[in-house]
Symmetry: C2
Subunit: 377 residues, 2 copies
């Protein structure tokens, strides 16, 4: 596969993210909108607060999020839709958009459709078997439920199981999507398998299900990482022509890899923290691998201070420390040299282990509640 969203220094596709991602460039390349102050004001009016991910520019761009807020203001029903392709353990990078999705659900009282495209990784990864995809589907669903979505307003479905309700609409998308378009959007060549060509049509469908389920045109907001936007660009291009409203997206940056790459990779376990990692493993990974913005030695660090802007432990805190004042103090203390790298890392380790303790307990409890969430059939 070639990579159409490739610049000299970075690549962002739904299947490959590498290099030093320039998010400003992505906004232009993907033709999406920056989240501006007017939008944040509107969010605050409707929710009473501005989520840290919005304040901190982690969710930084969108398409039609303004229309979603207008609809919410008019008391129109709006659905959320996000997803998870199961090919390995869930890590903290996956959790980021889900945490934000839960906040939207709670604050705006929205129904959520959670897609598990279990066929995606089978089609895109040569070495993943259907059996492994099935196993990871079961495991990953526990993590989704553990995030705390409202069981009365959340439905999780697995593509290969739920295809009886999806395939027809996927064909409607496919009918309007030429192989040329798929090549241009996703960088496919003639050597790629035909399942890849078709797959994006299935990822479009949950954006239409709110309209199918409500039996009237119903808006849909998709919170996800920006690498997924290309799928929904395709969805937006065909939606109205087949009788559905264009879906809105709200897009986040990637939680950087511990080793300071663009995005954590599920295949390199030293660059990520899995939701099932024990406190010791978390500590070991952060201490050993988290790229440091500190100085070469204690004396220099005290004298010149560290650089939080490139320090991964600090960057991760911006995703997991909700308190702005605490975060600001860490930033200043690290920059002044008062806080050492090891100390900064321990702040992160404690934060993550507190988060994971709660998540792992919820994940254990989720085992009993799976069927409450599943759309089977």
């Amino acid at each position: 596969m070639a990579s159409p969203q490739q610049s000299s220094s970075f690549t962002v596709t739904p299947w490959i993210v590498k290099g030093d991602v320039d998010y400003d460039k992505l906004i232009t390349q993907f033709g999406v909108q920056r989240i501006d102050d007017a939008l944040l004001k509107h969010v605050k009016k409707l929710t009473g607060e501005i989520h840290p991910y919005l304040r901190r520019n982690i969710f930084f761009s969108h398409m039609y999020f303004d229309k979603i807020l207008d609809a919410v203001e008019k008391k129109q029903k709006v659905y959320l839709y996000t997803g998870r392709a199961p090919s390995g353990p869930v890590h903290l990078g996956h959790i980021v958009p889900w945490l934000f999705t839960k906040w939207l659900q709670d604050r705006l009282n929205m129904h959520l459709l959670f897609q598990i495209p279990d066929e995606e990784k089978v089609l895109f990864k040569d070495n993943l078997t259907t059996e492994e995809a099935e196993r990871w589907t079961k495991e990953n669903i526990l993590d989704i439920i553990a995030v705390g979505f409202d069981p009365k307003k959340t439905k999780i479905f697995v593509d290969t199981e739920y295809a009886g309700h999806m395939y027809k609409h996927a064909c409607a998308v496919a009918r309007k999507t030429t192989a040329s378009t798929a090549k241009a959007l996703f960088g496919f060549t003639d050597s790629d398998n035909v399942g890849k060509y078709f797959y994006s049509c299935m990822q479009s469908v949950p954006a239409f299900l709110p309209t199918v389920m409500e039996k009237k045109k119903t808006l849909c907001l998709i919170p996800c990482a920006i690498d997924q936007d290309v799928h929904f660009r395709l969805t937006r291009d065909v939606a109205e022509g087949i009788g559905f409203p264009k879906p809105a997206t709200i897009l986040c940056r990637f939680l950087p890899a511990l080793t300071a790459g663009a995005k954590m990779s599920a295949s390199e376990t030293e660059t990520l923290v899995a939701t099932t990692d024990t406190p010791d493993v978390v500590k070991k990974k952060i201490m050993k691998y988290a790229f440091s913005g500190g100085r070469n030695n204690l004396e220099e660090h005290r004298k010149y201070g560290g650089n939080p802007d490139i320090d991964i432990a600090y960057q991760w805190l911006t995703f997991f420390e909700e308190d702005d004042a605490k975060l600001k103090k860490v930033y200043n203390d690290y920059k002044s040299g008062k806080l050492l790298s090891g100390e900064l890392k321990m702040i992160l380790v404690d934060k993550l282990n507190t988060f994971l303790k709660k998540h792992q307990a919820a994940r254990e409890k989720a085992k009993k509640n799976v069927e409450k969430f599943m759309l089977r059939d």
Copy 2:
């Protein structure tokens, strides 16, 4: 779309059949086997007779039909699979493989899976709506049931409804099928939609369902017109690699168009007889449109005789008159000039109207029995 199975004088793809089809050339082009005397002998041993379609070379080629007969002889369970893509009324050309399929079911006690790929025509015909496909699905199912399949051993399913049981296996096929392969087999270009690229994978799946349903490797025999063979060539190429036996096919010629083209076209109603045509309409169509092998005037016809080999009324009788002796007499009488074109046509009209009277009564009765046949999710 380009047409890969195109020679100077004819084209045969699942979507276009035109020109004067040379079936001998197709055997070579498609890499299938001729049905030979040894095979017919084996059929007779197992069924007690040789169906007229086999005697008359209407079902004329196959892949692995010999293996199917061996399995039947060893009392192994074998499934039949055939299908109908709904985009208009069923005509007599469609019925031909179904009549033969029923004979196989009855004589060899086989289960039958009948696929309705309602998405196919939507993907391949720009002017067909999903609603029309739904309407024709319902209508066509009545014709299928009217053929007289055993309700205890026949299951009909509609792709967009049954996709929950199919899509996973279609993805397994898709994973092994590159866009290059689809282009080479089906003549697609980059301007074709991605649904066309994926579609053949769905047509492969019913060949695997016997194995899924029986929970062990189970052979499948597909009786169909030869234009469909290309789909199953793809199926055979991937089957064993994904854990299923290669499907066998037994392939028939096309019932020629009344106006003497290669195949009746559902869009040109004067070239076909629909199963719902009234006796008057049948008579009018045959009398007016059936291409005649007769002479220019009565005198010449009596003197030189007609040519049954190019006469469409006679050709159709080879599909619908089961009695060899009667058919032989018509052939000889026509060739000698004793039988006139109008008289020959009336023999066909009577034969078809007798067939259709019975079919239409069965079709009416089928309305009450649809659910006995349907696999609904």
